[in-house]
Subunit: 354 residues, 2 copies
DNA sequence: ATTAGCACTCGCAACCAACGAGTGCTAACA
DNA sequence: TGTTAGCACTCGTTGGTTGCGAGTGCTAAT
């Protein structure tokens, strides 16, 4: 057992400090108001006087975990405060069994396609968290072509069909100049199935471009046109991100000021940045993480928090989901919600793959 | 020529009143501030005294075209005022040739699929109008099946392919219990192509359900499963609405107050309501219209305006586009922007159909 | 019919005082 | 030596007062 600390230090916290920091963050998370020493002893009926707490809070401020919005008003957690809270203090609040059941049930209804499932996920997260719910579409390296089919349609047109390992069919139509000849078609089809089955959708275009030479000699026009069409695949992937429940952020007191609100909504429209944030949140650690506002960020957004988690398909990381809200978020509930949801999403997606 | 009016009347406006109403609305549209009598004579240097204008404005208020936000402050247009302005007063500000060119050019880049085109439209509208841009997806009755293809995939799976008259291919996969027999497949395929080609996508499900009996006897299992899959088509249509540029609304002074902003953003998330509004706007008239806030609306939203237009494919109305912003909008520019864009969208979509 | 003049209204910003929540510090206490 | 009570002080918030200015409606003169 470590010797009891009696000296204040800037590096690590004593039991009392931890307790008080915990109380402050908790209180602030629920009330959104700066919390003073008296409030702490009352709400958490500690066996301490306000003055003692006051001293401890002053220390916590010195150490950078708390912050005064102005001289002589209650304290508010800093980024570091949240960070410490999330990492060491909070009791993760597991979902109840019935909540888990409901989520599970919710998903079992929605097994059509991976996209639908993920769209639904963002919806569910928004609903359950009262924050903005985010779900990234499947990583394009996770989605692999399983089979090509070429089908003549009408006279001069060719339907190119790709079935992926999630059972989704992508299809597009190529306009040809000359009518299709069946034996050429078969050759091309064999060629595609032989060389590109198993290729991740994300790298299909490059993959094909690099092997273009091999085939061009023989069946120039047909092949050329077909490959041009295949080149378009990635765009046809559709949106990479599903987002839901943004309006709920208006409820939060921190977004009552227009500036803030505008910033956040601006961010929410920039899907690339959003994904970056999720990715950054999850970068270190075990793929489940909390991101707090301006922790080493480069974007001008203050005062947001994110809880994110990677979902895995067949054991492989395949995408991200999460919720976004004000920095002051009920992390203790949200982490379990998000992580558990990620697990379920992963399981159902895995079930979809063949 | 009608005899000059010398008497005030509540029914129709004299030349002076019209002029002044025009001035007030114009001024308010650009400045967003209540406009007083003096401001009118100054900004539009009329040969009248403020007092005279004052009287006229009082009359206009009696007639319900103007409104005072409080006793003794400038006037603001009422719904009726906007309505009169839009219908009788404003000079539609045609797009310049270069603007038209740019729009046209913009579209010619995006000829992939109808959905892409419409997504792009909402984007373009948002950009050009500085309001929220909206584009409804193609009417499901406009999209007609042109050809079915059934393709065995692997062992027990069947890909169902539908090409529509826009060249878009819809495809889904049915899991079968028994391996596919080729001759059954051909029969089913012929049946589908014979009976359902030309059916609008929107009514396909019903159409098929009603003719289910005819086929079941012969090839029960295969047919059943296939039709089940086809039943899902409408959901696979994806979102019915494309929306863009909502953030820009934050710039508008009328949405600085949180209440308003929240209301509008709430509305923007309810795509069904949005479509209703567009539809209502366009219901009467020639399919091009302006909708002003609470004109006979049932939803609790105040203070919005909409400019909408129907786009036609092969002469048939096929969907709606429009912009949404505060009631105080530069209608004279926006109407031409929206209507012209609708024309172009229609033309390009028509080009897509085969 | 139009205009000038004038008293009046009302929102808005500035200022002020009172209040109260909360602090830091000091001195007393266990 | 850590804890507590007491107290003076800070600072945001609230509510009331005031003055200003934009704009009006009305009346009387043109």
């Amino acid at each position: 057992m470590a010797p009891r600390k009696t000296q204040k230090q800037t590096s690590s916290l004593g039991e009392r400090e931890r307790e008080i920091l915990h109380a402050v963050v908790n209180s602030y998370i629920t009330t959104a108001e700066p919390v003073g020493s008296r409030a702490v002893v009352k709400r958490f009926n500690m066996n301490l006087s306000a003055a003692t707490v006051r001293n401890a809070m002053a220390d916590l401020e010195d150490m950078g975990y708390l912050q005064q919005v102005h001289t002589s008003s209650g304290r508010v957690p800093t980024d570091n405060g949240y960070r410490y809270y999330v990492d060491h203090l909070m009791h993760v609040q597991e979902l109840t069994l019935s909540e888990k059941r409901r989520i599970e049930h919710d998903f079992s209804q929605k097994l059509e396609s991976a996209d639908d499932l993920l769209r639904h996920t963002s919806h569910l997260l928004a609903l359950a968290s009262h924050q903005a719910g985010i779900a990234e579409a499947l990583d394009t390296n996770q989605v692999r072509i399983q089979r090509f089919e070429l089908i003549p349609v009408g006279r001069n047109r060719l339907a190119v069909l790709m079935v992926d390992n999630y059972g989704t069919v992508r299809s597009m139509i190529a306009d040809l100049i000359d009518p299709v000849e069946t034996n050429q078609l078969e050759k091309l089809s064999t060629f595609l199935n032989h060389n590109f089955v198993g290729t991740p959708i994300g790298s299909l275009a490059n993959s094909i471009r690099s092997q273009l030479g091999e085939i061009l000699g023989e069946q120039r026009v047909l092949a050329q046109r077909t490959l041009e069409v295949l080149d378009l695949v990635p765009q046809h992937q559709g949106k990479r991100l599903f987002l839901n429940g943004a309006v709920q952020l208006f409820e939060q007191p921190e977004f009552q000021r227009m500036e803030q609100a505008r910033e956040v909504f601006g961010l929410l429209e920039e899907h690339d940045k959003l994904i970056d944030i999720l990715r950054k949140a999850v970068a270190d650690g075990d793929g489940r993480a909390v991101f707090i506002s301006s922790e080493n960020d480069n974007l001008g957004i203050e005062d947001i928090g994110v809880v994110a988690s990677t979902y895995k398909v067949n054991g492989e990381p395949a995408g991200l989901i999460g919720v976004l809200g004000p920095r002051r978020m009920p992390y203790s509930k949200l982490t379990s919600l998000v992580h558990h949801t990620a697990d379920i999403v992963g399981r159902f997606l895995t079930k979809l793959t063949k």
